[in-house]
Amino acid sequence: MSTAVTTEQVEKVVTESLATFGADPDQITPDATFEALDIDSLDLAELSQIVHEQFGVELKGSDVAEVKSVDDAVQLIASRL
């Protein structure tokens, strides 16, 4: 990923990742909470790894602990781009 990564691109990667983890694709909306999607700490550890690989953004466990919804995650990642 070079210079111009957009929030949309981040959202796409997050959405696809959550679907891979087993979340129902129809329920993955910006407002959806991880609790409702049955996304837990192990999934978020995997997501952190993917985000690091795709965007070079490093998320610590303490960052991720504050993230409660899909949009929370997208905004956090976008703010670190």
Binding site: G22, E46, Q49, H52
Partner: protein
């Protein structure tokens, strides 16, 4: 309280549910029926569970959270709980248990655990780097992952753990669960074994030990046998106290009458040639069951098809059972499915219970030229009816008229490291 504990200890421990996934197919009865029909689940020199599809039992999320050895255990456990009437239907977590969840234990044996996950993680580390190793690696590969998954899936909140004693793991797991109920630590337990080691690493590693059959044929006790055939699978049984099981109207498949374990303290891989260590476990199981040698109607042998085991085990059976060894059938499940390693003891306990229930002596397949000195009745080639008392009738005893007598068997399991575990099983 103490008096209660004593009463509970005296209560028989019964099996109310069984489940299995083996190279002969999905289901405990599939294993039993196909083995007794003389069918073999080995193909291309291995016993793979080709009929097993994790998607039949697990959601996508559940499947990616479980190494194959855990997936196999989950399928076997679902079947066992449904069989016991603990779950309304197969494939679902038990939502209502007949016992307090805190009083239900779970013991699962495995020889290796999640070896596929381990190998995948190593490949990722080498090819892509440390930062790409999956956070799921540890929770999937750890040898207790299966026990944890069963406990979580069904809300079993009593003691749960894995036991590991190589190819005796499944029998040690059932023995440990038996003790858990006898000591009063739990009122019921789910116990078994699971293994999914069909990987190039395991093939190479067992091959380097010269333990695997070069011909790819499992023929225990045959003069031409040249090693074991590696297999994969799982089995789980449900254990309860007889009084409680009957009170809830459960169907009783059989009893775990006794358990005996010993160690060769001899060699890392080879059994004692004289079979004395193995015989000690058989004697201990008989003593624990409180039954005379003459009460044993069948021996489900460890019978790996390796030159060393089958010779030592034949000695052991003769040492433990004396003259009676020659009067009863002895056969090897591994002739039909290969060696399921850490799952073997549990799978063979299930096969033994169902054989006893149906009064069948299952066959040792592939056996047509017994080695000199291996002279027990190994039931070569085809199953036959199991007469209570074995061949006792011919020796002057008489089969009782009228009332159906329970039948008993020993199921032998011996592991690398010199671990010997023997179960004494009974069916009504």
């Amino acid at each position: 309280m103490e008096a209660t504990a004593r009463i509970e200890r005296a209560d028989a421990i019964v099996v109310t549910g069984v489940g299995a996934v083996t190279p002969l197919g999905v289901g405990a009865r599939t294993l039993h029926e196909r083995w007794c029909a003389g069918e073999c689940g080995i193909a291309d020199g291995e016993g793979a569970c080709t009929d097993f599809d994790a998607g039949d039992f697990l959601s996508a999320k559940e499947a990616r959270r479980a190494d194959r050895f855990t997936q196999l255990a989950i399928a076997a456990c679902d079947e066992a709980l449904a069989d016991a009437g603990w779950a309304r239907e197969r494939g679902r977590g038990a939502d209502e248990l007949p016992y307090d969840r805190e009083r239900v234990g779970c013991v699962l044996g495995t020889g290796i655990g999640g070896i596929r996950t381990l190998v995948d993680g190593q490949d990722t580390l080498r090819e892509r780097g440390a930062q790409f190793v999956s956070p799921l690696s540890v929770p999937l590969m750890m040898s207790n992952a299966g026990a944890g998954a069963l406990s979580m899936r069904h809300g079993l909140r009593g003691p749960s753990f894995a036991v590991s004693s190589a190819c005796a793991s499944g029998a040690h797991a059932i023995g440990s669960a038996l003790r858990m109920l006898q000591s009063g630590e739990a009122d019921a337990a789910v116990a078994g074994g699971s293994e999914a080691g069909l990987t190039p690493l395991a093939r190479a590693a067992f091959g380097a030990l010269d333990a695997l059959s070069q011909t790819g044929v499992s023929r225990p006790f045959d003069a031409r046998r040249d090693g074991f055939v590696m297999g994969e699978g799982a089995a789980v049984i449900v254990l309860e106290r007889e009084r409680a099981a009957r009170a809830r109207g459960a169907r009783v498949i059989g009893r775990v009458r006794g358990y005996g374990a010993s160690s060769d303290a001899h060699h890392l891989t080879a059994p004692r040639e004289d079979g004395e260590g193995q015989a000690a476990a058989m004697r201990a199981a008989l003593a624990d069951a409180g039954v005379a040698v003459e009460r044993i109607d069948y021996v489900n042998a460890h019978g790996t098809s390796t030159p060393l085991n089958d010779r030592a085990e034949t000695h052991a059976i003769k040492l433990a059972l004396g003259e009676h060894a020659r009067r009863i059938p002895v056969s090897s499940t591994k002739s039909a499915i290969g060696h399921l390693l850490g799952a073997a003891g549990a799978v063979e306990a299930v096969a033994t219970l169902l054989a006893l229930r149906d009064r069948i002596a299952p066959p040792t397949l592939g056996l047509s030229e017994p080695e000199a000195g291996l002279d027990l009745d190994y039931v070569p080639g085809a199953a036959r009816p199991l007469a209570p008392g074995g061949h006792r009738a011919a020796g002057g005893g008489s089969a009782t008229d009228g009332e159906r007598q329970p039948v008993l068997a020993l199921s032998n399991s011996f592991g690398f490291g010199g671990h010997n575990a023997v179960l004494c099983l009974e069916a009504p």
